[in-house]
Symmetry: D2
Subunit: 434 residues, 4 copies
């Protein structure tokens, strides 16, 4: 698919180039029009798999030129005026990267929408928030999901920034020095969808920053998905049991009859490494390469195409996972009650009501936890008398104090996990999407 | 140095936090003011190397809190109200990265200026442009240098984009859930130089995108410098002899009395690998990490500090190299005349004057080169009679046709290497810098 | 520490070199002995921090030579006969890497011993083995631990192989061409602990394979530890509760009074990325470097020292974790009973007793699991009548059939998890260690 | 190609497994023989492209099992007795990696032979040895080439070590716990070409060390080739002109009629990055993966196959380059005379003949070079009188003293560049090859 799209760009850019040569009277109009017609025919041949690539011609570009000669004769010789494969190939590639970045942004929006839908249904679903994978504080499952939306929005910004950075057209830089033909680079730049032509012909044929930028944004995005995947794999274990997936996204075992494995999540996680490897390879190719064109650059496309395919697949798999996910609310709530997740609330309470320094409240709460741990009870199972051993004269509603939903909803600071906050954020994200 | 700067951020952020707590009446004014005074004193102690870090306290933050207790007593316990190390540390780090990005941008400007100065003196210096390290076409040494300015300008844009992306303050996200204290996150965000507070408390303590963005922009920038370094190492070889450096940037050999090695260029080139490795490490740390805070994140600072130091040094070394570089113009011109670098000009000429298709002109020129190669002469040493064997009735001024300076100055297309273009670009870059 | 050790090698190699020069009558005996005495004095100065490094001298080697001149006068000038820093530095470095590899192997043995001790106490501890983090089949916790011993033994082999590969001494290759002095390279090689001198002087000063080999073996070893760490982090979560650690290896939270986080496990996991990054950097430095010595190589030591320190620390932390780990056997067993982990045993049973093709037995067992799942009961809670619905006339002891300990102990194939096997393996590993 | 070979291994391993099941009387002989016949038929179908892979079956293994059912009916159900895809797939993969390692070793031998042939013809060809790409000392071009043989021999050792490390067969580990069937793992191990079965069933299905070892050895080998490629690219530039290649390995430009670019060398150099990226990806996949099988591992094959193909191609291209390379001996010798490459010889001479400390001789030679540099003459153009200004009463044959061939041949220390040494080494390498 990627390759096919790339071939489309090749023809598109050649036709624009031919039109410019005609307009500038650099080549005869008649020959120019023949060229354009010929190119369109070859493109169709390729699309219908009727084009025969010949090994003896070095690459796709030479193959097309040779075929053009077969079809329209000597007029074909006018096409390569005032250009080189060096500027041609980087132009085609830049167009492809630009459009593929836009395409990824659309997939990101689709994933965001799915997460929003899931979040909407789980605003009041309380789960233990984790740090160090240890139960930390009660949070809303929706709030947890929205954290991923923040990451994906940053991803979109990264791809958007890249599109701005890429917006200069190298066509007309020729081999590396520019050309003495009276070409109109602003015309070709505009027609090919770029804001303007590049400033320096040597840089134009040497530069692959845009490939690195694409690979880098893809690597970071894949990393975000890998974290989501890891969370889902853990949440889907028998021990956690926070989520379950529809059979559609699960896979069996060839030997164990009972197994239902969340393969897509593992593929997303593993393939992040492919996105990393491609970035690493591209940076390594460029390191210490003298400027202007070298054949080392040839593998740029394979790396970028592969990263695009990999990321796109991972985004689609993430969408599938989210759509087929069911939150097991009881398990989440039960787990939220383990591990003394409201101990901080008690410290905060002491700080607010008793005007104690936070560190003092923290120390009292710490002792209370130790006491409860030894007695193997939860904090809400403590009596007022027991609490008074640690802090005197404290007016406290014990069940409410240590209730995980209360705790969650008390976090009303901007960006905090209270249901009210979460609702407001969902509205905000929805608005930004359309 | 980096570490020292980071400690500054720690105190700055704590003082702003304390001020907010006072303003919001979350802690008593009196205690809050004591805290601020105490923090300032500790900062001074650290700056004067009078602060004793104690291993038994986990980290710098605990050390500071313990010392604060020693100085101001129980009031110190109020400082950590409504915050956690999780949000604190990421806030300090973000501030550091933001300022360091600005710092790198200044160094980039300095390097650009030095290159501009050198380019200005070499507008008419003709050298062979290379592709595949084979002589390709004559270009201006200034035009060659300006190619690097294009790269460095893209680097600046990348760091500038990062600064926009980083512009949300995580302080107040507490451990991961937000807080029930009535904090004012907009106040702290603004005071700490951020545009606004972060939207999601879980994402806030998990996110290290900004570190990756810094490492990624640094890696690409280092890559650009490595290409410059590679070019200089090659140009400085006895075989090329295009440039020479002042002794200041050269190093001798312990055994070979004659050696003068361009060590800084090699260090720049080699250390690019350090910038790559750090990016690679940070991405690897983040891959598959469940969200919210994990100790895995601890090494984020070491990686970023090291990449900053490495890149900063490389930029300074690049400045030194440019300043101490002398172009050996005769050698450049002599080499430009080797390798039939004006063969394309002849093909273009046939295309323009004889209205031949470019490919036909190319083929004629190709035969001419083969003929000259066999005779072991340059193209400008051919007679009109000899040329007429390959193409008839051609009105040609042979010395001018094959002159490397003429060739260079004929490339007047936008972005091309003609002296006129180069002059115009230098003016443009100067204007953009100031 | 690493650096200090490296300085030791520098003096050691210089003294051996001087002895050889005396033996071969290349330098006067008297001057040679002065040199050796002088070097020993300088080494002591360095060890006592009384040596002043001067920035104006390029590196440690020049500093030492200058100081030697101060101490013994012109005789110092004889030391650098028939050698260059190029061969000197790679010799010192190779010695360091060899000894550090041996050192890592000792730490690996220490870790293996700790794991063996822990395994010995858990031969009969049944836990769910996981694939895809879903309960798969019951396994012995000891068997699980021994899997790590297999990895660590492979690590040892890797470092041992490296030690063989490194065993050629480059000293005497001089700058890159060898020397015309009548040196005895076999003598220096032997005295410095190498098997023989290197074969090719150019390769000798260019080669950094041994650094890459060290970094590569370290990366793989760190990877193994990262998997152990990940397992422990997951097992230590409230949801799993398979293991608990003594407070000694746990860390608290600055805000949450109840938290006890397994920081060392997270550090081990995260720092694997440092080992990876260093390997990546070294490979990148070497890529496309023309042969013989370049300053790019200078950072080889920093990368290798850092990987050594990181891996050594991780090994020590892993030892600490194992020593302070307590298996919560009840939790493990309870979890082993969830997720129908004996479904494969039933399929195997049908295959053995009823001579059904395995796939047929698998399908029957699969239906049985679905039935039990819907009824929300375990397999051992099924009645014979219920089972007969799925397969007729089956003579089965239900509690035994589905018992997790029975299942575990039935895996008597070589390498399987039965207690008998595990015991035998522990004996085998113990024997191999001593 | 790689994939096809892998499919061969799949059938091979299944047939061996079936034979073992028959031998152990685990499955009926009759059904077992049907299975083997059926498998052979399917293999033929695949080889003739007559096999239809169906997307609805998860992978190649399920496809084969389903087809087996079509061909031989219910007997097919006996094949998967006592095994899982988890152990099956890693067994197939290990066999492939073992054989591919042997295959690479053969290619390495082929390249070594080509280099030896080229070296043999260039024992007396003097060229400047470089450090920092600056002329250092005269060396034999053969000696330079032999440096690469040293690297390639180390590569062979690395692959050979891997073959020893890989030599344990995982088949029979089943899903992860082993099996209760009375299988004979020693039988299958032996028949599949392994030394013995693996020791631990959990490790067996989790372990991908062998893939990393292959990728790591490939990365280092590719790095060596990249250095050769870089050298050739530089030596092939117009400025150096040390080597020329036959047109067969050169490529033209689409715009510049005169260009002949050494594309294969650039491809070798660039694609090293692919080998690095794959290693990086595999390490990243494994980092922090809990033990036993996860779908993350699925991409292991793609990475290893790609690294094999890439390295194999690079080795073939390197062979092509060497075979089509012509050393331009005059250019090499001329360049060897530039840059005062015999200055060290003069310092050595003073040290030997005048018994001066080397550092004193070095300083005198240094002054001599400065003097000659200012006069813009070579050292052999100095008069005895001029030399006596720097060192008195020196009995010196000036032309011989500073002759580059003399210098080269004086380096008779073991591993040095004298023609005598080089000849001896060539004989040694030839002997070791056969």
């Amino acid at each position: 698919m990627s390759t096919k799209d790339f071939i489309k760009k090749i023809f598109f850019a050649s036709i624009v180039h031919a039109n410019m040569l005609i307009k500038q009277k650099i080549i005869p109009r008649k020959d120019g029009l023949k060229i354009i017609k010929g190119l369109k025919r070859i493109e169709k041949e390729i699309n219908k798999n009727k084009f025969k690539f010949k090994e003896q011609f070095e690459d796709i570009h030479q193959n097309i030129e040779k075929r053009l000669f077969q079809i329209i004769g000597e007029s074909a010789g006018y096409l390569h005026t005032a250009r080189s494969r060096n500027d041609q190939v980087v132009t085609d590639f830049k167009i492809w990267v630009k459009e593929s970045s836009e395409d990824i942004m659309i997939s990101l929006d689709n994933l965001i929408k799915r997460i929003l839908n899931k979040a909407e249904k789980n605003i009041d679903t309380v789960m233990p928030g984790f740090t160090h994978l240890k139960n930390a504080q009660p949070v809303s499952f929706a709030h947890y999901l929205l954290a991923y939306i923040e990451m994906l929005i940053r991803d979109k910004k990264r791809f958007a920034n890249n599109i701005v950075l890429i917006d200069e057209c190298p066509l007309g830089s020729a081999a590396l020095a520019g050309t003495s033909f009276n070409i109109d680079r602003k015309f070709t730049a505009k027609k090919l969808g770029f804001k303007k032509p590049t400033n320096n012909s040597i840089d134009s044929v040497s530069d692959r920053d845009f490939a690195i930028d694409f690979l880098s944004a893809s690597a970071t995005c894949a990393m975000h998905l890998s974290r989501l995947a890891e969370d889902f794999i853990i949440f889907n274990s028998e021990a956690f049991g926070f989520v379950e997936f529809r059979d559609k996204v699960l896979t069996g075992s060839s030997i164990m009859p009972q197994k239902k494995n969340p393969d897509p999540a593992e593929l997303i996680r593993g393939r992040t490494a492919i996105n990393y490897g491609n970035l690493n390879s591209m940076l390594t190719i460029m390191k210490g390469l003298p400027i202007s064109y070298y054949k080392d650059l040839q593998d740029d496309k394979e790396l970028v195409f592969d990263s695009y395919d990999t990321l796109k697949d991972s985004l689609l798999m993430a969408i599938e996972l989210i759509e087929n996910l069911n939150a097991k609310k009881n398990n989440m709530k039960n787990m939220a009650q383990k591990g003394y997740t409201t101990a901080t609330d008690f410290a905060d309470f002491l700080s607010m009501k008793k005007k104690l320094p936070f560190r003092t409240g923290y120390n009292i709460s710490s002792k209370l936890v130790n006491y409860a741990e030894k007695k193997k009870i939860r904090l809400d199972q403590l009596s007022k008398k027991e609490i008074n051993k640690f802090v005197k004269e404290v007016d406290i509603n014990i069940p409410k104090m240590f209730d995980v939903v209360n705790s969650m909803n008390s976090k009303t600071s901007f960006g905090g996990t209270s249901a009210k906050n979460v609702k407001r954020m969902i509205v905000k994200y929805r608005k930004e999407l359309k």
